[in-house]
Structures are given as C-alpha cells and as structure tokens.
Symmetry: C3
Subunit: 212 residues, 3 copies
C-alpha cells in the first residue's frame, strides 16, 4: 500500500494538470467536452504511461474511476471560471510547474514500490511528470512546454533524484516527498521568474575539411 | 465472449477508420506503404489504447492478425480508388463520423465486459473513438478533427452514454448498440451538415484589478 | 532466450536512435536534459510500443535499466560532440537509416519469439522501427521523416519480410538477421542517395458529375 501523503499529492497533481489541460482548451475556444478531454489527457496521461510500462494493468484510473471523475469535474469548473484570471497563460505555466513537481515525486514513489530500482524510479518520475503536458501540447497544438528555453525537464529530474536519494539514505518518506517536491518546484519556478536556464547547445563551426 | 453484433461493428469500424487514414495519406501524396501505415494506425489505434489500459494484452490485433490484414487491404484499395470521389475531404469527414459512432459503442461494450463500471465504459468508448483519429491527424500533420468547431467528442460521449444507460436499464444489447450508434452518428452528422456546435468558451474581460 | 546477435543489434540500434534524438535536440538548441529526454524517447520508444502490445510487461528497459543508461550516456556525449560533423542533418538521416534497418529485424525477431505469427512479426518490425522516429519528430516538432518522399517505411517492411521469410524457410537466424538488415539499409540508403521512391498517390480529376 502507498502511504497517504503520496496518494493525496497524486490527487492534487491530477487536478492541477487537469486545469492546465482545460486552460489550453480555453485558449483554443473549445466546447465543454473539449475541456473534459484535454483535462483528462493531461491529468491522467503521465500516470497511464507509468502504469503501462511498469506492467501495472489495468491502469490506476480504470481501477479507481474516481480519478476520472475528479479530472472531469475540475475541467468543467475551469470552463466556467477560466475568464477570472487576468492572464490565463501565466496560470497555465504555474499550475503546470506545481503538477510537474508533484508528479516527479509521485511517479518515482510508485516506481520504487513496483521495481525498487533507483534509475527506473527517477526515469518514471520524469516520464510521468512530463508525459501529460507533452500530450496536452501536441493534441492542443501548442508550442510544447518541454521545448521551452527555461529549466523544465531538469526540474522534474532534480526533484525525482532528491526524493530517491533521500529514501535510499533512510530519510522518512514524508520528508523525502516534501524535499523532492520543493526542489522541483523551486527550480522550475526559478526558470519561470528569472528565466533561469541551463547552457543550451550552441552550434559551433565544423572542423575545416581535411584537417584531423 | 462478445456477441456477434459488436464484433461485426468493430470490423466495420476498423475498415472505415482505415479508409480515413488512407485518405489523409492521399492528401499528403504518400506512397502505398504510407497508406498502409496510416490506415493501420487509424483503424487499430483506438482499440490498442483501450486494450492496453484495460490490461487485455496481448492486444486484440496481435491475437487476431486478420484485423491487421483487413486494415491493410482497405488502405491499399483506397490507394487505387481514392481519386474517384469529387471531394476526398468530405468523404474523410463522413467516414470518420461513422467510425466515431461505431467505436464509441464498441469500446464501451468491450470495457463493460472487462470492468463492469459504467464510468470506465463511457470513458473507453470516447477514448477508443477519438484516439485513432487523433493519431492519424498528428502523424499526418493535419488540423486535428478533435479541435473542430462542430460537435465531435460530444457525439461519441452521447453515443456511449446512451448505450451504457440502456444496457443498465436491461434493454437487449443489440437494441442498445443500435440506439447508441444512431445517437452518435446523428449528433456528429448534425455537426457536419448544419455546423451544429456547443457553446464555445468565450474569453471575457478579466476582473478590474483591485476589485474583489 | 534471445540469441546474442539480436541482443547486440538491439543495443546498437538503441544507441544509434538515441543519437538521432539528440541531434534533433541540437537542432532545437535544447539543454542537456532535453538531449537526454529526446535520446531516450527515440531509442526506447519503438521497443516500448512493441513490448506493450505484445503484453511483455514490465517493458524491457524497466527490467534492464542498463538500456536507459546507454541511451542517456549516448545522448549526453552527443551534446558535447554534435558540432564536429559538417552537416548534422545528413548524420541524423543516415543514423536513422541504420536504426530503422536494425529495429525492423530486431522487432520482428522479438515478436516471432512472443507470438510466432509471421504477419504480427512483420508488423512489429515495422512498428518498432518507425515508432521511435515518429515520437522524436512529433515532440521535437520536426517534419516527420516518415512522411518523406523517399523510401522509408517500405525499407523497414522489406527488411522485416526478408528476415521472417528466411527464418520460416529454415535459414539460420544469424544469416536471416544479416540479410534482413542489409535489405532494409540498402533500400533506405538508395532512397537517401538517389532519391529512390515508390509511385506516390497522384490526385486525378474526379469523374464528371452525372456520368456513371
């Protein structure tokens, strides 16, 4: 069984990501069913991928339909309240950041329970954090957030690494979850606020032909 | 075991969706292998997703290779006969509508047999109806039909809801399948003919800053 | 158990595809985590799809984390050395060609071991060869190589068909693997060098209205 902290965070992450999916739907002026579809895809996409590759089928939301209901309700509420914030895109980016940090830790935790390999746990944390947003941006034809110049995948990676390392060091899970989440959110937040980014690949001139 | 009506409809849906995939290939002037690829992806994509998340692996077309053969043959026939209709895009939209209504019912039926939960059944109906077309449009770099202004996902949703509700009320499956299919097709058809659509999200001015 | 030749080729294919993913990341000027993500997606995508639909879960890279490590290391090396070649896009296309031919044979071999059906084996060969590159191009927002005018999917198809046919005829696996790989690589290479392509779909004028 998973401890309560992780389950609560997974629920929170589902709802947060569902909001980002619905906000993309609002930018495309879709109808309410479109909001529901993009909310579900974004909220459930990462966990679906994680469960499938770990062989945990039927996937969690088939066993617990309350997951789908939560993403649907949140997406529909967004349909009616999305006009309130001044800038929907800013909200989208920040909700996406919270969801990213949450799912990086939750995904790593689930994988640690299923396979007990730290590399797989970190990879699953990154994958379940990134996958929902990638699907959302592809289906909604947005510029993929994952390609953004500011720190993004790195934040999920750092959060998952901190969590897995602390668990391995014997730190209680609640504390490891908290510190992993904060690491991810602070890094991504630094990217959003100060445009913090890692060195990008800089194309340099190729070697002159004929020289070794 | 599934009853015969559903199996026949699944076959018909496979072939119809395969035609829409091949028509996208024709719009991109691909060669015959491209037709086969897009036909398979569109015809088998929805069912593959459904089987994977329900944990019904190996997926149905691995167990019954005749499914692949049917989509391949249909896609190759389309290569030779796609020039006949005056407007290929109109055919694409209508075939897609029939496939959507068919898979909404078939997907819900399969999920009802596997998990017996009405919410999951409806979600699976919508997902298996929409997924093949989403993949087709992403790989073929078309404007996703799922983003279209006219009723689309809602039609699949309505068809699946009608089917599941009737089965729950004790109506014989053949009748429930027929009524669910008609509901989906009529709604989507109304969208195509009269441009019927649900209220879209309308951006409204944000609240004035400083006011509650 | 799989024989050694296939395992070696799978490793080689993983690394080659990881390079192509990293080269796409370099074209988008991503940071090193972006290189790692695209390298993993491209290197592992085809095999993940194959394992999922065959029901071989947890998928191979969850059971053998060394697969992930290899794609990560290759992607990170590419970050530092991608500037050396004169034309990165040419390298991308040729590495992709080698990976395509390798995975067509490896995928067919794995499917033959799992289901023993020649049609499924050929389909899995094509799918695992094409899927990683399709994901790479969608996430990296490149023009999908699979839509390219020159022979692409057909090369994977031919390689898989040759391999499966030879195995069925009783030819030793090593030889069948070698000939299948050469068939795929030569066909795709001919497409790259001479622009060899199959007849494309040519839109022809529709039938005059009112005539049978």
């Amino acid at each position: 069984m998973f401890d309560t902290v992780t389950t609560v965070l997974e629920w929170f992450g589902l709802c947060i990501f569902s909001v980002t999916g619905a906000l993309v739907a609002s930018r495309k002026q879709m109808d309410i069913t479109g909001f529901a579809l993009l909310g579900c895809v974004t909220g459930l996409g990462g966990g679906t991928f994680r469960d499938l590759v770990l062989g945990l089928t039927p996937v969690s939301w088939v066993e617990h339909p309350s997951y789908i209901m939560a993403t649907l309700i949140v997406a529909c509420l967004t349909f009616f309240f999305a006009h309130i914030p001044q800038s929907r895109y800013q909200y989208l980016l920040w909700f996406d950041a919270v969801g990213l940090a949450l799912f990086a830790v939750v995904g790593a935790e689930r994988a640690l329970n299923a396979s007990n390999d730290p590399i797989i746990a970190v990879a699953m944390g990154v994958a379940s954090a990134a996958f929902g947003g990638i699907l959302r941006d592809i289906i909604g034809q947005e510029e993929p957030v994952v390609l953004s110049r500011e720190i993004y995948i790195t934040a999920a990676l750092a959060g998952a690494v901190v969590f897995v390392a602390l668990v391995r060091l014997g730190v209680p899970r609640e504390i490891a979850v908290g510190l992993g989440f904060c690491t991810g959110l602070i890094l991504r937040g630094a990217g959003l606020i100060w445009g913090l980014s890692f060195p990008r690949y800089q194309p340099r001139p190729g070697r002159p032909i004929g020289k070794p």
